[in-house]
């Protein structure tokens, strides 16, 4: 009997919201799961059930109970099957109705069997009675007593089966496959009774088997798919990897991703880019939480410290390396980071409470609770993170020449946040989700240009609503940032021109559809329309500003046997741009062998000018003169930054023990937006500005750099999980970026040159990551990870005494960040762990390192953590 792996429609809906379960040592569990599926296909149900249960032991998931029940049902073991399905129903699954119907079907069959047996017994007794006179008598009293004893034993056995732990059940006993069911007559062990034929069980249950260990990703195509067949390079960081990482922030987790550029000028605002072009307030990566943009359009960055989630909220992180504008529009320039939180009511995930503390002012606490009742499920979480600065700029107690609005000079990040999500299942096809969150965040960051250490004190809130019915879905959300930001330190007595108030609102709505055509050759069509309204009131801008954005995207995944062709096009309308911004992507994935594929893709992406780049009017003091300022201005004539990318990759996911990927790419980037030089214009004629209390020396506009960058790079990634309890990974990235102006010379900025070549040296050429985790049988897990980044040379923008912009090269030495963590599990519910992040810095011979010339020396952060699951 052929069995097909199918995911029920409701589970697909949950996937669409990003809530599928990826946890724990998934790869190891999947190995047993795959074996079980092969055995199911071969009709070897007893071994299949054994392997299902081994997978369940490694990584418990209700879907395994479902699968065991399903396999037992196929084997005709209805009573045992009902037991597992009953346990599955106890987890409040979304397909309760179907499963209950299936159980009913099996019970009917049991009753039919019993009736058939009873009938056979009656027939036998009748036949015996008919033969008795001839034999000289009826059934003896002893024979009747023997039958009654046998019936009692059968009832006792049934009772023991129902109460036993399924893992301890003698599952292999008497399960010989889905041959025609037979039953032994109680009257004569040698006599069999032919039962009536039973219809296939697939007709009674829509979904045959669930795959809880699938390596499905949702970010590459905005629907669930095997990463092998995805149109982009994608990396998944699971909740288990997060727990074993020793990291305290999301950017620290991202260091392990091949091609990822993570630098930490401050613990309060690490900067993240992909395949180069990182900078202070990095703006090339779109960061999503369950598909909701966290991009602060007023600033052009993700302010990590304001994200209202803790690591305990995260189910997994999907990282798309390369252009993503064809699906996500602006800012998905170098890649997309999609943080997928735990689904409400996910029965495979325990509620948990976590508390951690450590050196450098580290304190972390979080609690996540989740539940399900009927059609409703919910998740609520709250947490706090406090990270100390690696170093202060100055000791204010000894520096009366400086002042600061920051009360605690030792804090780099202080975030308190809460979240709530409520799901309501509507029938078999619908799901409505409402969620909201808030974070009160204080943090430190290093802004652009000549500006130095800054702080922010922001309240970030969001309210979100999602709805899905069948192939249609609607998403709407509102993001709001309110607060203040300004220089961390100021010279006493100097006019404070830079501390500012911010009110930023973003409203977004998107309607999306998904439809599959064809059978042998299929087309999966996805499309959507979106509208986004942005409003910013910020002292740095010339006035309050609003923008209306519109978007439309279409995507088709055509499948021709082993060939998958992805074609996507998104168009965006920006209010300051003429026409529309098209973002096409074309990718072909050829699975030349099962589990092995080659991919060729090409696409474009763009980054729109942000509010600060378009509308700024900010007076900045010249460094040596109190009374002379330069006006930094936005430019509404800026054009978006654009990237064209071509990528080729080979992936091998065929083994149950290891996985390998190799990717190479070529990128061309035009029109990067940067602050320009200072021009006197007519400002100097204006003389003293009474309102400013200063003379205006000139102005500096944001401008599109008159030049082009070309990048070539390659990434190799290898993961090994062939030994039970042991996982290892290693990846290496190499990249080179060249710059030239449009006249073909390297004249735009001489300090970007490296010998004769015009090399952008702010991107490290080499990055190497490696790590190993060992889940020992002795209730102790150990993980070690390494992150090596080669040297960089940055250009630091400044203003000289004449008020002219100068760029000074500054070196960042190569550094190696080693992190180790030990987790002890004294009970099934309690974890106690100790982690040392960047522990080589403790060695005097190594010491702290800088990841940006202006950044603080990054030292060791030692933390201890207790986690209790309930």
């Amino acid at each position: 009997m052929a069995r097909h792996l199918k995911v029920p429609a409701l589970l697909a809906l949950v996937l669409a919201f990003g809530g599928t379960a990826h946890a724990a040592p998934k790869d190891e569990a999947r190995r047993y799961f795959n074996l079980a599926m092969e055995q199911v296909a071969a009709g070897d149900y007893d071994v299949a059930v054994e392997n299902f249960l081994t997978a369940y032991d490694i990584l418990p998931h209700p879907a395994v109970l479902y699968n065991v029940g399903r396999a037992l049902a196929d084997a005709g073991e209805y009573e045992k099957s009902i037991d597992f399905f009953t346990r599955y129903l106890a987890t409040e699954p979304i397909d309760r109705g179907e499963v209950e119907g299936f159980i009913g079907t099996m019970q009917a069959r049991i009753e039919a069997r019993e009736a058939a047996i009873a009938q056979a017994q009656a027939d036998a007794e009748a036949e015996a009675a008919a033969q008795a006179p001839a034999a000289g008598g009826t059934a003896t009293t002893a024979e009747i007593a023997q039958l009654e004893r046998l019936a009692a034993e059968l009832q006792a056995l049934a009772a023991s089966l129902q109460s036993a732990d399924p893992a301890d059940l003698p599952l292999a006993v008497g399960v010989d496959g889905p041959s025609e069911p037979v039953a032994e007559t109680p009257t004569d062990p040698t006599t069999t009774v032919e039962l009536p034929p039973e219809p296939p069980l697939d007709d009674a249950l829509a979904g045959a088997f669930l795959d809880p260990y699938s390596r499905e990703v949702v970010t590459a195509s905005r629907y669930g798919q095997d990463p092998l067949l995805a149109p982009s390079s994608i990396t998944v960081i699971t909740a288990d990897e997060i727990a074993l990482s020793g990291a305290t922030t999301i950017p620290d987790l991202l260091r392990r991703v091949p091609g990822m550029d993570v630098m930490q000028p401050s613990a309060g605002q690490p900067e993240v880019s992909i395949r180069g072009f990182n900078r202070r307030l990095s703006n090339k990566v779109l960061v999503l939480i369950d598909g909701r943009s966290t991009y602060a359009d007023y600033l052009g960055a993700t302010i990590w410290g304001t994200l209202p989630i803790s690591l305990a909220d995260i189910e997994r992180i999907e990282v798309i390396r390369g252009v993503g504008a064809a699906l996500y529009g602006a800012s998905a320039f170098a890649g997309v980071v999609n943080i997928i939180t735990r689904a409400p009511g996910d029965p495979s995930v325990d509620n948990q409470i976590t508390a951690a503390g450590g050196t450098v002012g580290t304190g972390v606490g979080s609690m996540v609770v989740s539940g399900r009742q009927g059609a409703l499920s919910w998740r609520a979480s709250g947490g706090a993170v406090r990270l100390g600065r690696w170093a202060t700029e100055a000791d204010l107690e000894e520096r009366p020449d400086l002042v600061s609005d920051v009360e605690d000079q030792s804090v780099a990040l202080d975030n308190r946040q809460a979240n709530a999500t409520l799901d309501w299942r509507v029938g078999d096809q619908g799901l409505v989700r409402a969620s909201a969150g808030i974070s009160e965040a204080f943090g430190e960051f290093y802004p652009l240009g000549a500006l130095r250490d800054y702080y922010y004190d922001l309240r970030h809130t969001y309210v979100r609503a999602d709805g899905a019915y069948g192939p249609l879905s609607v998403r709407a959300f509102w993001n709001r940032d309110v607060g203040v930001a300004g220089p961390w330190l100021r010279e006493a007595g100097k006019t404070d021109r830079l501390t500012s108030n911010i009110i930023y609102d973003l409203y977004d709505v998107e309607v999306r559809g998904d439809h599959t055509l064809g059978e042998r050759f299929t087309h999966r069509l996805t499309g959507g329309v979106g509208y986004r309204f942005k409003s910013t009131s910020w002292d740095y801008l010339d006035q309050d500003q609003t923008e209306n954005h519109f978007s439309l995207f279409l995507q088709d995944e055509s499948t021709f046997g082993p060939l998958h062709v992805h074609a996507a096009l998104r168009v965006d309308k920006h209010p300051l741009q003429d026409g529309i911004q098209p973002s096409p992507r074309l990718a072909a994935v050829y699975e030349f062998m099962p589990g092995r594929a080659a991919r060729l893709s090409a696409g474009t992406a763009f980054r729109n000018p942000t509010f600060i780049e378009s509308y700024t009017s900010l007076y900045v003091d010249t460094p040596t003169t109190d009374g002379v300022v330069v006006n930094t201005l936005g430019d509404t004539e800026l054009v978006p930054e654009r990237i064209v990318s071509i990528e080729a990759a080979v992936l091998d996911h065929s083994s149950d023990s290891w996985r390998g990927e190799l990717a190479g790419y070529w990128n061309q980037v035009d029109g990067l937006i940067e602050p320009g030089d200072v021009s006197a214009e007519d400002h100097q004629l204006d003389g003293f500005d009474e309102d400013l209390g200063a003379f205006v020396a000139g102005e500096s506009h944001f401008e599109n750099e008159p030049g082009r960058y070309r990048a070539v790079g390659a990434e190799a990634n290898f993961e090994y999980f062939g030994i039970p309890g042991l996982d290892a990974y290693a990846n290496y990235s190499i990249e080179r970026i060249w710059f030239s102006d449009y006249e073909g010379t390297c004249g735009y900025d001489i300090s970007k040159t490296d010998g004769e070549a015009c090399v952008d040296t702010s991107t490290p050429t080499h990055k190497l990551n490696a790590g190993v985790t060992w889940r020992s049988p002795a209730q102790v897990d150990v993980s070690v990870s390494a992150n090596y980044v080669s040297a960089q040379t940055w250009l630091l923008r400044g203003v000289d005494e004449q008020g002219q912009v100068i760029n000074t090269p500054a070196q960042v030495d190569p550094y190696l960040n080693l992190t180790a963590q030990v987790i002890w599990h004294p009970t099934d519910r309690l974890d106690v762990s100790a982690a040392a992040w960047n522990f080589p810095a403790l060695l005097p011979a190594v010491g702290a390192h800088r990841e940006h010339p202006l950044g603080q020396p990054v030292g060791t952060r030692v933390t201890g953590q207790v986690r209790y699951r309930f």
Partner: protein, 375 residues
């Protein structure tokens, strides 16, 4: 053991490195601007910091190393009446010995970006941080000198420094040009050569023009025949060479500064920071005023004056040392001329009204593009 090591680790808190990105330690200065003179005319105030090694006009030729500002709105009259005061401050003061001076720009025509708007004009008030309110000579402020117990330590913040602001100036800057008869002079000519400076009227939006001939703020030369000891005799010129030539101590001073050398290269440090300037003083010919009945010690205004080309020049080295050259050793080329009043008010030609600023329509002020040709 794991727990113990964890808590031990948590208990260890290394001190924060205060040198993450070192912000230079400095001194902040603050206090009040106090009107010591008469009248209640105020405007935005400019606070200048000069090194005592490079003093401003009329004491030297230095440029300020820092400028801070006080808006007009900061001036407040105390509740109990009295003179107006305004708080001032200056951040980032490094080690050195400094003069702190002030210019209250009553007419609002000060502009630090042009060479013809950086001098006080008629009606403005001048001030300084002084030891004695009745002595306008600024008091040197020592900062960061470890060997001077009175020096302000670094870092620190010093409040309560009063800058005393004097009466409004009653004279305008000496806006002048060269007489057409004296565009050049010879380094080797034995006979005394004279240069004639004439005041002129320049109309420009950045300049305050006298409303009428009766306006006391005319751009004339303010002559002061110095008789410091009150003996009724003009004091000799402070420069011994000039005194030996019989030149008296008369204000304004007329200076020549190398501008463009014989090869056409600029030698003006205002245009080329790397240039090494040569300087000469052209002592005034004062006899005419003595002959016309002016008494020593008297102050009066004139519209033209005559200075003598001394055929000597001082080379000011980057380290501040000076060497005097004579005759043929004086560099040939174009020299700019600067007239400095005893108040420190100044005018110089050529200036940006005549050259280098095409947006100003240089052709409109050809008399401000004139330089003295030394041959």
């Amino acid at each position: 053991m794991l727990l113990l090591s964890t808590f031990l680790a948590c208990a260890y808190e290394p001190p924060l490195d205060p040198g993450a990105n070192h912000i230079d330690e400095s001194v902040g200065l603050s206090g009040d601007l106090v009107i010591a003179g008469t009248g209640d005319q105020v405007g935005p105030a400019l606070i200048f910091r000069y090194s005592v090694g490079d003093l401003p006009l009329p004491y030297g030729f230095g440029s300020p190393v820092d400028l801070s500002t006080v808006p007009t709105s900061a001036w407040q009259r105390p509740v109990d009446g009295g003179i107006e005061v305004a708080p001032w401050s200056m951040a980032g003061v490094g080690a050195g010995v400094w003069w702190i001076t002030a210019l209250v720009d009553v007419d609002g025509d000060f502009n630090p970006f042009y060479d013809f708007t950086i001098s006080a004009t008629c009606g403005d008030r001048l001030g300084a941080f002084v030891a004695d309110p009745f002595d306008p000579t600024p008091l040197a402020l020592s900062v960061g000198d470890p060997y001077d117990p009175d020096s302000i330590p670094i870092p620190s913040w010093v409040d309560g420094l009063e800058i005393v602001v004097d009466d409004p100036l009653t004279v305008e800057r000496p806006v002048f040009t060269l007489s057409a008869q004296t565009p050049s002079a010879s380094r080797t000519e034995e006979a005394t050569q004279y240069v004639v400076l004439e005041t002129t009227s320049v109309d420009h939006p950045l300049l305050t023009i006298p409303e009428s001939a009766d306006d006391p703020c005319q751009p004339d030369f303010l002559i002061h025949l110095v008789d410091a000891d009150g003996d009724g005799v003009l004091d000799p010129h402070p420069n011994e060479d000039f005194a030996a030539q019989g030149r008296g101590d008369v204000w304004p001073r007329i200076y020549g500064i190398t501008y463009v050398d014989a090869d056409g290269q600029t030698t003006d440090p205002a245009l080329d920071p790397d240039a090494t300037p040569w300087l000469t003083e052209l002592p005034l010919v004062h006899e005419v005023w003595t002959l016309t009945g002016r008494d020593p010690g008297e102050r009066f205004t004139v519209t033209d004056l005559t200075a003598a080309f001394s055929q000597a020049a001082v080379r000011v080295e980057p380290d501040g040392s000076q060497t005097t050259f004579y005759g043929a050793d004086v560099p040939a080329g174009y020299w700019s001329l600067m007239a400095v009043e005893e108040t420190g008010q100044m005018w110089r030609i050529p200036n940006q009204l005549g050259v280098e600023l095409p947006e100003f329509d240089a052709d409109a002020h050809p008399d401000q593009a004139v330089a003295l040709l030394i041959e």
